[in-house]
């Protein structure tokens, strides 16, 4: 299963970005292979409107089934949910910790 995590910098050991739509990047972690890839989101950080929806399209294209982030806006939430993606809010701290906590079932 692929997990998308909002990242403050475009690297797998960055901190979780508290914002979904305007996150600097997404880390796509494949829990089967343990590999992480980076998806740039800088275009959405510059958008005047609809950043969350652009970001949702971007995440959906990666095939991710779960999003770990700080907070996700209502429009992006609707779009992600329509794509069958589960959103886990309230995440913070280093991305590897957030992934481990989620996979261990202890993410809050």
């Amino acid at each position: 299963m692929k997990i998308a995590i909002t990242a403050q910098q475009a690297r797998p050991d960055a901190e979780v970005d508290p914002r979904f739509g305007r996150a600097a990047a997404f880390i796509i972690h494949d829990s089967e292979t343990g590999e992480s890839t980076v998806v740039d989101n800088s275009q959405s950080t510059q958008a005047a409107h609809g950043a969350g929806l652009q970001a949702a399209e971007r995440v959906a294209k990666t095939g991710a089934k779960v999003v770990l982030t700080g907070r996700c806006g209502p429009k992006a939430w609707d779009a992600l949910t329509a794509a069958g993606i589960t959103i886990v809010e309230g995440q913070a701290g280093p991305i590897p910790d957030a992934i481990s906590a989620y996979l261990a079932g202890t993410a809050t």
């Binding site: 609809g50 929806l53 959906a60 429009k75 329509a82 794509a83």
Partner: protein, 279 residues
């Protein structure tokens, strides 16, 4: 003749100046209140019997049977009002500007543009003054389409005074772009002068002549040096508790200070002649 009253910073006295100009215009003016997020000219004009016209925006509705999920609509939308998700294209009418690009690019004819009501235009009269104002519905974000509908009521013959919204972004541009002259009302505060500069930055490329009105001028003030030299100062309105008190009771500047009427007549003359920008 269309004269727009704009400012940059809000609360500098646009409505005060717009009402005074409308009342000073000979033979009855047409007043267009384009501050559609919070129109207030009607509180002073108190028009009798208003005609109400709905303003709609044509937003996309997708026929999911026909949609082939190509995503061209979402790509074409400048405002992300459509999101192409893997199994469904979602629409967000709140973000739609009604341009129609999505249905134009759709190769399967899956998009129909359906009117949604975003606000209304109200038309009324008091004496020889005709007031047209827009009201954006609560919760809607698209002011420019409502402003454009109000602007359609500009008169070809009568003097038209436009009370523009504050700021220097799309709503302000929508209200001022068809004006023959723009008056910028400012106050002598850092915020007022800073935003006056932004408003001038916005108007300059439109090539519309403009002039400045300074409101709440303290007694003994003579120095206009701190002001923007790209537009001439055409009028100074004194700091006056009487104006504020009258305004708070729904009275206008000319109710409080009828002796200023000739100055507004002169302001109308200057704007009409378009001389202000050239002198």
């Amino acid at each position: 003749m269309k004269i727009a009253v704009a400012s940059g910073k809000g609360g500098t006295g646009k409505t005060t100046v717009a009402l005074a100009l409308a009342h000073a215009a000979e033979g009855g003016a047409r007043l267009l209140d384009c501050d559609v997020e919070e129109p207030n000219c009607h509180l002073f004009v108190r028009p009798k019997r208003e005609e109400v016209l709905p303003v709609t925006l044509r937003a996309p509705v997708i026929d999911q049977e026909r949609c082939r999920l190509c995503g061209k609509c979402a790509e074409a939308c400048e405002f992300s009002a459509l999101a192409a998700m893997p199994t469904k294209v979602l629409t967000f009418p709140d973000l739609c500007h009604g341009c129609g690009a999505c249905s134009f690019v759709c190769p399967s004819g899956a998009i129909t543009e359906t009117p949604i009501e975003i606000g209304e235009v109200r038309i009324g009269s008091a004496g020889d003054l005709r007031l047209v104002y827009g009201c954006l519905h609560v919760g809607k974000a698209q002011a420019p389409p409502v402003i454009r509908e109000v602007m359609r009521h500009a008169s070809r013959r009568a003097t038209t005074i436009i009370d523009a919204p504050p700021g220097s972004s799309c709503p302000m541009v929508a209200a001022t772009r068809r004006a023959d002259f723009i008056l910028l009302v400012t106050e002598l505060t850092p915020f007022g002068l800073h935003d006056l500069g932004l408003a001038i930055d916005t108007i300059e490329p439109m090539g519309i002549p403009m002039g400045i009105v300074i409101n709440r001028v303290p007694e003994g003030y003579t120095d206009d040096l701190a002001l923007d030299d790209r537009a001439p100062v055409l009028l100074r309105i004194p700091e006056s508790r009487k104006i504020a008190e009258t305004y708070a009771r729904g009275g206008t500047l000319l109710d409080a200070m009828p002796e200023m009427r000739p100055q507004f007549e002169e302001l109308l003359r200057l704007a009409t002649a378009g001389e202000a920008s050239r002198c």
